[in-house]
Symmetry: D4
Subunit: 146 residues, 8 copies
């Protein structure tokens, strides 16, 4: 069974690469997709459309250009993995989770035990909560087995 | 013009009451809805279904019981206001925003200038960004004028 | 907050009346709906359309006439309660649960501990599992509180 | 004409293999999909996410992990076959049928004459009732003929 | 239980009035809706928009004006009754039935035994086949009983 | 530009073959689909599921088995062509047109001038009315041109 | 029959008032809705959210605030009337027509003969083309007749 | 990442070719689609269905034949680019933008600074506003980067 899996959230550790490598090692038939994870490129996505004096509009333009990609990939995904790290606000990750919930796209959360309480609404709509990339790979292995 | 407006997010200040009062003072025909904003009651929503040893399952049960209300009200809302304060993770607010975005329900964000960058994806899908409850009332006044 | 709640499943005990009475005692603004729960009338729903020699077609006609009601009420419901008793196959209750799941209508299951394992898929898509009508009323009270 | 057919329900007899073999013998251009049918693996699907003391949560986690697969395959299916055997509760099969009904995915039921009455609601929304795998193959042959 | 029922099809006999009277006599809480059943007015619905030399365009304009009403009422209906008489082509009735089928709106067909074979596809997607207005009233009585 | 085109309606003349041949001659990248057009096979589609004494149930079972194919192909089609000949009731063709209209699938009608008035509602929701297979091919040629 | 009708487009003549008066004179049970038609107020809708140096962002903010109203009213409308005058670009009117077309909401265009060619795509998806407010009232009278 | 991009709007300059060439030069995995951009062929699309005396019906028939293509391609597109030039009414471009907005398909507008004010509603629902084909290519390059 083949699957398209969108990897949403934290961009400061290599959790995406770990999941992709784990899936590859297990020969899973999975196509992984992701947002632009180069932080600087992501923040500058709208700059080619002209300079802005205000931070709000610079961010606004970049976020919308990035959203073209994210929205398209989220709607194509069979499953999403949403990762929350221990730093930053990461509201975009929670936004993606809410988007999946409304679309009916199953998602798996990936976060430490310390975040259980603030993530309870996000976890409540998830199909699984994992604490390590290995567990995510384990779930995907089970889900796609022949 | 009448409107149903869901007030999502922060529960530690009286921004909901300010908006409701402002709308009342302006005689707007708006029905406001909200999640259970009594923090303790919200956290304990699932306790009547039996005790749990693990924090995860206690939170899980409560979050799901609360979600019955939130999901119903979000889908009935014409418009949502999503408030981010300066404390706590508030991932549920971003989750609600993502849910609205996928449903096509217009929403207004309400947050300070200091949160512009981390909220850029949430603001990008919003119809307006306000910094005060008065501004939200101003928008609602314009939107519903005869 | 008002709510429309569909009561699906077992028709041999008075669980519906207990929930309705409990909601009434607590002054909840809830409209309860239900299938035709008169067993004989339900089985004979299609008889006025002409006799059938085969059991399959008699059942088929009656089940379809009943489905006009069930389908309409399920799609109007904000929430469903799906009850499984200790007797009979009750596949129609599980069918209703699956229907709700696909529509995105939140539902609460109501069944004893002894049925946990066979109902795991049905419970997995539910927002809560209750074992008594009192618990269902408790959830509805929380969900609709002002 | 090619078709994707999901085989839902009973996992204790070889009805799936009979249908797949029959379709192969008839050179039908059909891709069959199915849930994880290894009973022990299915029950243990969530175990890699950590141990649970309570049966409910163990079942809950496994059922949700399995649901990632089932939901994805049901939504990709053109047609489903839902099999009810003579043992066990099989509420998950009826749940899948209800899910298909709400999605508008046509499904065929496969069960003995003895189950007509308890399955009347499930059969009422089906496109056909078959009693043998050969009949299912016969229907698929007709449906996909050039 | 209240219901909105659209009465589609044949306009040359008083079957609509019989059903409405029967429902009234039985005190059913049903709102009946219907297309414009004044044949001449229906054919002339577009005439006020200017004359046409070609029959096709005169019919086209009138049919579209009528469709504003029909489409709106079909989408508001909980249930439709689709009547086929023994005269005329009545393709509009079959069109309405197909429209209901795609929307998932349950419908009841009303026609004589002589039309069974040509209506088999229309009946296959119906929830019931009745031969008299009394039977339709009987079904509605059952469906809406308290 | 490639296209999937469903050919619905009359099965007694070779209009489908003419369109397919015309499209082939013009090297159009179109995949044509159709119902089972072998009249006897279509009427007998459900016979393998057991004999029926009543004509209604024989027709019912066959029509539902055929509907598995029709429904699947209609939902996969980019465009439909719906043909009405000068004989028979052809309510299934009008039913397919209504189904397309509700799905938003564009369709072309193919019929003689003599049928303009009874088909006015069906034509009103169509994207084009053609009187010959050559015209249909002409439209498809224009629609898919590079 | 009651109806909700959204009046979209040109804001420089009194066509809305003429239609509303005509409907009132004819005692039609119609609720008319409209965008904010006070030009200055509409252009300034976002000004309360803070000043902008660039015209683009001022317009952007105002257009989005107005869109909260327009989007809500368009989705609540049973029917829309879209008016094109002889001045200005009026792209918002064509935008609303496209929005209705995608939602499946029937709409009527109101424009002079001189605009036939540039409006052909907009008219192609409309249910009627009128040249005077009186004709629109005439259509609404027919559509809602008892 | 691959993408299907529909190029809507102005047909009198070579902006489509510039974007396609730019994407090709950058080796982007994008399939571009477009309406029939041969003006004369587009206007004559319905002529093969018979002559019309009135301009309205000639345009109507052609616009509907063209709409078969446009509707199909818009619904298949991941992203649209909507171009407004400095001549003509171009209401079809705004109509396509409204159609995309209702479908939730992200689109980019391409127009000069002089059109900011009349396009404010169209821009308000867009994901980006570009003034040159190079900027559009730049956005697509960012959106599809690996």
């Amino acid at each position: 069974m083949s699957l398209t899996v969108y990897l949403s959230g934290e961009i400061h550790t290599d959790w995406r690469e770990q999941i992709e490598q784990g899936a590859k090692d297990a020969c899973l038939d999975i196509q992984f997709t992701r947002p632009v994870t180069d932080h600087a490129a992501s923040d500058a996505a709208g700059d080619l459309l002209g300079e802005e004096d205000k931070q709000f509009w610079r961010d606004h333009k970049s976020a919308k250009v990035n959203a073209i990609r994210i929205k398209t990939l989220l709607e194509q995904a069979d499953v999403a993995v949403v990762r929350f790290g221990d730093k930053y606000k990461q509201w975009n990750a929670a936004f993606d989770a809410g988007y999946c919930a409304a679309l009916g796209t199953p998602y798996i959360t990936l976060h430490d035990e310390g975040l259980i309480h603030p993530l309870k609404e996000v976890d409540a709509a998830a199909m699984a909560w994992a604490t390590t990339p290995e567990q995510v790979v384990g779930i995907l292995k089970h889900v796609t087995r022949d």
